[in-house]
Amino acid sequence: MRQHLIELVRFSTYAELRTERERSYLGLVWWVAEPAMMMATFWLLFGVILKTGGPDYVPFLLVGLTVWQWIRSCITHAGYAIWTNLGLIRQVKLPLAVFPLTQMLADTVKFFYIFALLLVVLWLMGYPPNWAYLALPLVFVVVFLFAAGIGFLMAATVPFVPDLRFVIEQVLTVAMFLSGVVFALDQVKEPLRSILALNPVAELLAASRGILMHGQWPDWIALGRVTVISAVVCAFGLWIVVRMTPRYPKLAS
């Protein structure tokens, strides 16, 4: 049973990436070109025109956007995953977490392509590889746990309230600014600053930037706290999906 599910998730992920590649002329190129174009937009706006940050601003922005884009696509794609498969869910009994998980794994594969490009860009800009890179896998696991938790929650909710999908994008845009993706949060005044610092994404971005730009090891205590929060969010999201499972086959699509 478990073996079978692993095969199903693995092959569905492959199928998802494969069809996405077949859907456009340039296929694979877009996985990297699309986020690169978005980063260029932000860089032009905040780096060149508004002259927001100091000398480190461009790598600061690139790292932030790369990781954020991964989280964002996981959440939006997972949110649609059960809703768009309601027809299938009415015909076959499957653990429903398979659908959002497949989407998020596909997004993770795409993230690795973009991340490889980011590394090259950072090296060219004078931020060489360093030993703190060894902490990156741990940081990424925690990022995935957190994104997956929110993703499962959205996947469970959207079929009941499809209207939510008009709201998700806007909420995520606000969340992006509040997570310190575009601006550093140390310009924010207390007590708001401490409240914003509770957001796991802010801490995870700080850790990623420390590693990639300054060769700094993460703040282990802060990372530990964020790991616990993310694991709890992920477990809660999964639990909701399992809990709601009997109700989806009865929903009108």
Partner: protein
């Protein structure tokens, strides 16, 4: 609620005890409930071929989905042994940009087969679907007949303990209908446990040894083929034209 607490007699695979399933009528905050199944009881034994008859909207398809474990009843009890119950679903999970071969694997996995089992049966799928070299083309290039041939060839590979069939005895053009109908009848005669929903009484008479008659979500009679047919026809004759209504 759906798990077996009480031991069942050896050969009963699934037992429904006064089962009812309700749907919300509309996507509204205060929608009323609609009972697609009200009160159905049945015992499905190993090796049995059970036919389900009843007019449109009687709840036959809903019943199959309860047996498959997809719908959880809102009242009554389902007792089941660990036996797997699978609805014969065509083109499950098919993606248009994927090749026929990849779609066969994806669909087979969703129907509960292991990947190596599907790969091992790929020659049989290729032969039965008559797709030849098209198997490695994306199915968006297929005609609808070709897609249905592939879908049927994959679905017929599944081997659950209980096979649930909802009116898909024949698909495709006349020639393939003949072929797919024969293959399915062959599968049913091999001693599998089957539940078959059909409007085709001739088909039911040929393939099933027992029948369940349901009406307005209630089981009217379960018994031998001839006994149930007799009662059903008597009732049809009394009532006259069947009531309208959709599931």
């Amino acid at each position: 609620m759906t798990r077996a607490n009480r031991p069942m007699s050896d050969d009963v695979l699934v037992e429904l005890d006064h089962v009812g399933v309700a749907f919300n009528a509309q996507r509204r905050l205060s929608a009323g409930k609609f009972w697609a199944l009200e009160d159905v009881s049945l015992k499905l034994r190993r090796g049995e071929r059970l036919g389900v008859i009843g007019r449109n909207g009687a709840g036959k398809s809903t019943l199959l989905r309860v047996l498959a474990g997809i719908l959880v009843p809102d009242r009554g009890i389902v007792r089941r042994t660990p036996a797997s119950c699978q609805l014969l679903a065509l083109a499950l999970g098919f993606l248009p940009n994927l090749t026929g071969r990849d779609n066969a694997i994806l669909s087979g996995l969703m129907l509960g087969l292991r990947q190596r089992e599907i790969v091992a049966r790929m020659p049989a799928i290729a032969e039965f679907s008559e797709l030849g070299d098209f198997l490695d083309q994306p199915i968006s290039t297929y005609s609808s007949g070709m897609t249905m041939r592939l879908a049927f060839s994959v679905a017929i590979q599944i081997e659950p303990d209980v096979l649930l069939i909802d009116e898909v005895l024949a698909v495709g053009d006349a020639e393939f209908q003949e072929k797919s109908g024969t293959a399915l009848r062959e599968r049913m005669r091999q001693g599998h446990t089957v539940v078959l929903v059909s409007h085709n009484e001739k088909e039911l008479a040929k393939l099933c040894d027992r029948l369940l008659w349901i009406e307005h979500g209630k089981s009217m009679l379960e018994g031998s083929r001839d006994e149930v047919f007799a009662a059903y026809h008597g009732d049809l004759h009394l009532v006259g034209s069947p009531p309208s209504g959709a599931i």
